[in-house]
């Protein structure tokens, strides 16, 4: 028998019993929709995490830190996992070059933080400390400039500052009690700034620290792109080192090291390589942390959530499968005579079996298609309601193509499996008994 004839006959048989076919399909539809919707919510939650972080470029960033900066403990270790450790290493320029040489690493930016520095302009002062970075930080930290740009290539004596957009509002008079979030109206790039070191080790009798002033100017303002780049005031690490060298006597009590760094950022080319690079860095003896790692553990959690949600849908599908089997068996009882006549006319047993399997598969497939359409509808409503209510933004329904295909494949497979036994029965019906049935 031709497969086109087989399909046509199966479809005709189903169409002859429209109501029953449709009711059975509704079962499959509900089963498919519940699985797809449940899984899509799981995916949506996952996707939400990733989307909210990937816009800021923070998904491909690794934060590195040295265990040896603050303590000179020679036994310090870095944990590769719960059991394995390696000896901690200094984060110095040699190490930075090693990390830069790793595969998939795009740029490395060590930084030094100076919390006891104050940035001032006129009578205004920010409460932000300074983060000294090199010029590659623009790439590593994904800077987008709202005004100005990066550090000039030949840094002189003046400290060049890059202000995060969100730090602008922190500039206010020291006496001011008003905590509005308004940035003062300044021509930032042309204003004179000073960076003040407050030396509490040499405070006067009233407890006021001794202050040392250094000239500074703003070269750029970093736009807030949702990440944390706009929450810092940056300065050029090379200029900073030079100033520290020049004023050794001032800095000697500040516990500042110029031969190594405390922390740094590493930019990796692709999200999928982050964990790999991260573990390579750890093996070098430097601690490393990334959002990717966090997302991985979140994904593991949401995967078990997805499995649970999918399981609920699977129960609905099981019920649908039973109803397909029931419909097919009913149909075989009714068509006993017809099957017998087919056998007498010389219709192959395999064709008879295939015809019934095909009917069950069509119920599964069509039910699956309608169920998918239904799932898209439910997903749209869920997203609309959650979007309108301003609910937790990462909770939404996402139906990727693979879920569509898996949903359809699964519903069809359920149809075929549910049709296996009925079709075997139809094949085994005795032709003689079948035609004798009235």
């Amino acid at each position: 028998m031709r497969w086109t004839d087989l399909l046509r006959m199966s479809a005709q048989n189903l169409w002859r019993r429209k109501l029953r076919t449709i009711l059975t399909m509704v079962g499959v539809m509900i089963g498919t929709a519940s699985i797809v919707v449940m899984v899509s919510l799981g995916i949506g939650i996952n996707q939400g995490y990733i989307d909210s972080l990937s816009e800021t470029g923070e998904l491909t960033r690794i934060q590195i830190s040295s265990q040896l900066y603050w303590s000179s403990n020679n036994n310090a270790v870095v944990y590769l996992d719960d059991e394995t450790t390696v000896k901690a290493q200094k984060l110095d320029d040699t190490m930075i070059r090693k990390i830069s040489a790793l595969d998939h690493v795009e740029s490395v930016s060590p930084y030094m933080s100076f919390y006891n520095f104050q940035v001032r302009t006129g009578k205004l002062q920010s409460y932000y400390g300074l983060l000294a970075v090199n010029s590659s930080a623009i790439k590593t930290l994904n800077f987008e400039f709202k005004e100005g740009g990066g550090f000039s290539s030949s840094a002189g004596e003046t400290l060049e500052l890059i202000l995060g957009e969100n730090t602008l509002a922190s500039f206010r008079k020291q006496s001011s009690q008003v905590w509005d979030n308004e940035a003062p109206d300044l021509d930032w790039l042309n204003e004179k700034f000073t960076v003040v070191l407050q030396d509490y080790n040499n405070a006067d009798s009233d407890g006021n620290p001794k202050e040392y002033e250094f000239k500074a100017r703003v070269v750029g303002i970093v736009k807030d792109n949702g990440g944390d780049a706009a929450y810092n005031i940056y300065t050029n690490i090379d200029t900073m080192k030079r100033i520290i060298q020049k004023h050794k006597s001032v800095f000697k009590d500040q516990n500042i090291k110029t031969d190594q760094y405390e922390q740094g950022y590493v930019r990796v080319d692709d999200f999928n390589n982050v964990l790999d690079v991260q573990s390579q860095i750890k093996e070098l003896g430097i601690d490393a942390w990334s959002y990717a790692q966090m997302i991985q553990s979140m994904q593991q959690q949401s995967r078990s959530l997805q499995l649970m949600l999918g399981g609920i849908g699977a129960v609905a599908m099981l019920v649908a499968a039973i109803s397909i089997a029931n419909t097919m068996l009913m149909s075989i009882y009714e068509r006993t005579k017809e099957i017998g006549v087919m056998k007498v006319l010389g219709c192959r047993m395999s064709s008879i079996g295939a015809m019934f399997l095909c009917e069950a598969a069509i119920i599964g497939l069509v039910g699956g298609i309608v169920g998918l359409a239904f799932s898209y509808g439910i997903g749209a409503v869920v997203n609309m309601v959650l979007g309108a209510s301003g609910a937790y933004s990462s909770f939404r329904s996402v139906i990727p193509l693979w879920l569509c295909l898996v949903g359809l494949g699964f519903s069809t497979m359920v149809g075929v499996l549910a049709g296996l036994y009925p079709s075997q029965r139809a094949m085994r019906l005795s032709a003689l008994a079948a035609i004798r049935t009235e």
Binding site: M1, R2, R16, V341, V344
Partner: protein, 251 residues
């Protein structure tokens, strides 16, 4: 001429409760190509059992059935289906048309099972429906046709694939006598035109009279074989043989 059907010592035993019922009790018979053979007998004489066995619908308890050189008693069900597909057409007493299909679709079904292309099978089916005078009822469903018309569709369906052997189980049993006559004429005519062997079960003597040979069964045994051609003008096509053949079939 070599017989197309050979039956040797055919026995069929049914178990009804504790009792054994011999539906067929040692039947030997040869049927020759192109013959029109009628099997007659009272109800319970074993004639339907014999026909079912010839069509491969039932297995013999003992004995051999050879049709067109193939041993039916040694075949499994799939092989029997294939055998029917290749050699056999079947006409039912109850017509057994597919109720949801039109006359044309019903007639094409054996060709559909054979995997014949849609255009070819439509052409063949239309041709045979025309022969049977049903050109105007091609699109009718069985429920929209009279008994005689339905049986004509049944005949068309049995003969559309030009089988070598046509079995008919009381084909006129559900029809009035005038229609019966007409239907029988059609079956004979087309079978003869196709050169098909026609084997018919009936208990209508007026039909049996029109057969080439009549086999009378009683209690599962052949009690009489009448050759009507001895009285006819034309020469018999097959050797006259009123005695049951005895020689064994090779395994």
């Amino acid at each position: 001429m070599e017989p197309i059907i050979k039956l040797r010592n055919l026995v069929k035993v049914y178990h009804v409760g504790d009792e054994k019922l011999r539906a067929l009790d040692g039947v030997n018979l040869d049927v020759y190509p192109g013959e029109f053979l009628c099997i007659v007998g009272r109800s319970g004489s074993g004639k339907s059992t014999l026909l079912n066995m010839l069509a491969g619908l039932e297995k013999p308890t003992r004995g051999a059935i050879q049709i067109a050189g193939e041993r039916l008693d040694k075949m499994n069900e799939s092989q029997l289906v294939r055998f029917r597909l290749q050699h056999v057409g079947f006409i039912f007493q109850q017509f057994n048309l597919f109720p949801s299909l039109t006359a044309l679709e019903n007639v094409t079904m054996p060709l559909v099972y054979r995997g014949v292309a849609p255009k070819v099978r439509k052409k063949k089916a239309l041709a045979i429906l025309k022969q049977l005078g049903l050109s105007t009822h091609v699109k009718h469903k069985p429920s929209q046709m009279s008994g005689g018309q339905q049986q004509r569709v049944g005949i068309a369906r049995a003969l559309v694939a030009s089988p070598e052997i046509v079995f008919a189980d009381e084909p006129t049993g559900n029809l009035d006598s005038r229609t019966s006559d007409e239907i029988l004429g059609l079956i004979k005519e087309i079978a003869r035109k196709n050169g098909a062997t026609l084997i018919m079960v009936t208990h209508d003597n007026s039909i049996a009279e029109r057969a080439d040979r009549v086999v009378r069964l009683l209690d599962g045994k052949i009690i009489e074989i009448i050759d009507n051609r001895q009285n006819a003008q034309e020469q018999p096509q097959a050797p006259q043989n009123n005695q049951s053949p005895k020689e064994e079939l090779p395994a």
